[in-house]
Amino acid sequence: MTAPIALEGVHKSFGPKDVLRGLDADIPAGEIFAIVGPSGVGKTTTLRLLDLLLPLDQGRILFGGRPCAAGSPEALEHRRRMAMVMQNPTVFRATAFENVAYGLWIRGVPEAEIHGRVFAALDFVGLLDAAKEKADHLSGGEQQRIAFARAAVLGPEVLLLDEFTANLDPANVRLLEGAALRFRKETGCTVVIVTHNLFQAKRLANRVAFLLDGRFVEIAPAAEFFETPSRPETRAFLTGEMAY
């Protein structure tokens, strides 16, 4: 069952650079939570912290009320209940089928079950016919769809999307957004999506968070965020007047 996620006072620095300086957020189970902000502000870092890929310097991340740290023994188990789809897909040098099967192999799912689940996932992103194709021979859009299927097939409780439709043509963008929404609808998972595409955030999100100077300056339901933002920085960002 999907659990709520909480970020409490999260700090993260890379060397002398303080990227995150006290992030606070509560993400209820099943919500689509978008993070927007200027380039380089730390959106991807936030996702990677959530995925327990990076240790944080200060603060806590809680799943269902229980804190979890990257590198702790429970971290691997938690990580396996989440899946991330990144920008610029990295596919394995193998067929589409094998790419999607990867996460299932890792988790020891029996071969017979893998078959059905992989084909279902490929079908979900419309790539059933390409199952036997070598993944690195496919187009960028198709590779991203494989990356999505690869994540979705694991039945994650949390889906982390990091600019997952960046550099794709409108048709693929639409297809992938549709897949994400359908997936969330069918499984009730939580979705945390990082995007620089405000239209996308508007289309998909329940709530939107604006990350600036290492903090969430504003978190609001989507409609409110875009039409009546309460903070001046948010307004400046949305109208493109913010200089950074």
């Binding site: 890792i106 020891g108 039945g155």
Partner: protein, 293 residues
């Protein structure tokens, strides 16, 4: 969904790996069992010199022994020094060499069970047809060498501490010359076996010392003639020595002894005498069984 945390991805790839690993282990075990089972060996390992091999005698002779006794013989042809050393180590169980001084030391040190003379051939001095040192037809190699020295005629040496090389050095010492290839352009060392040295001598038009067996094998393709033969000091005596079982109990003691006795039996001796190359008989049997019952 909790499966085993240790399941590996790419199952067919991993399977190829496991097969390769299993195959490697299998092959090693098979090889080990094969060699461990051969204790003691069902064949005899003979250490001998390159001249015994290059003359073709062994390839001719050994099949007769195998037919007569059912015992297989494998031979390793190396330099005299290493052949005796293999006998010392017990890596070979019988040794057939032609180096009497070294053999006596070997026996004195207790490494040999018994030592029987088998056969003899001789060293000959061969040289180019135009014979610049004028030694053709001599029966005294020492005299021939002194003439080669006087004429500074080109001479090719084995230069490899083989039995032939040692004989050559002894001859030079009798005429008071110490070979110095670095300063004397007419004296060259090939550092190689007899066949290659003969080839070099033929090409460069030089003299050399050779065992008659190897020379006869190659005579047709060489531009060389036998200049000096039948000189008593140049007789070359072969002995067979089975290794001492007290030193190396787990070698094929019986096989080694059987081989040594067969070589000096009338059967073995008759075969040795019957071996010819280019119409000549390189080895003269002179065997005596000193390995008594």
């Amino acid at each position: 969904m909790r499966g085993s945390r240790n399941t590996l991805p790419w199952p067919s790839f991993v399977t190829v790996w496991r097969i390769a690993f299993a195959l490697a282990v299998l092959l090693i075990l098979a090889g080990l069992s094969l060699s461990l089972n051969l204790h003691p060996r069902t064949y005899v390992l003979l250490a001998t010199t390159t001249s015994a091999r290059d003359s073709g005698l062994l390839d001719y002779l050994l099949p007769f022994f195998e037919t007569d006794t059912g015992i297989g013989v494998r031979y390793i042809a190396v330099g005299t020094g290493q052949a005796l050393d293999l006998g010392r180590r017990g890596d070979a169980e019988v040794v057939l060499v032609h180096a009497p001084d070294a053999e006596l030391v070997f026996m004195a040190e207790g490494y040999g069970r018994c030592r029987s003379p088998v056969m003899q051939n001789e060293f000959v001095v061969v040289g180019p047809p135009d014979d610049p040192a004028g030694i053709f037809g001599l029966t005294n190699a020492t005299l021939a060498f002194s003439k080669i020295l006087a004429a500074h005629a080109r001479f090719i040496s084995r230069g490899d501490n083989s039995g032939t090389h040692i004989m050559e050095l002894r001859l030079w010492s009798w005429v008071g010359y110490t070979p110095s290839p670095a300063t004397d352009p007419w004296y060259e060392e090939s550092g190689q076996g007899m066949s290659a040295t003969l080839g070099l001598a033929s090409q460069l038009g030089g003299y050399t010392l050779s065992d008659d067996g190897t020379f006869l094998v190659h005579a047709a393709s060489l531009d060389l003639l036998i200049d000096v033969r039948h000189d008593p000091p140049l007789q070359n005596f072969y002995s067979v020595i089975p290794v001492n079982p007290d030193r190396h109990p787990d070698v094929n003691v019986d096989g080694a002894l059987a081989f040594a006795r067969w070589l000096v039996s009338s059967r073995g001796q008759g075969l040795i005498g019957a071996y010819t190359v280019a119409g000549m008989q390189p080895f003269h049997p002179n065997g005596e069984d000193r390995c008594g019952p």
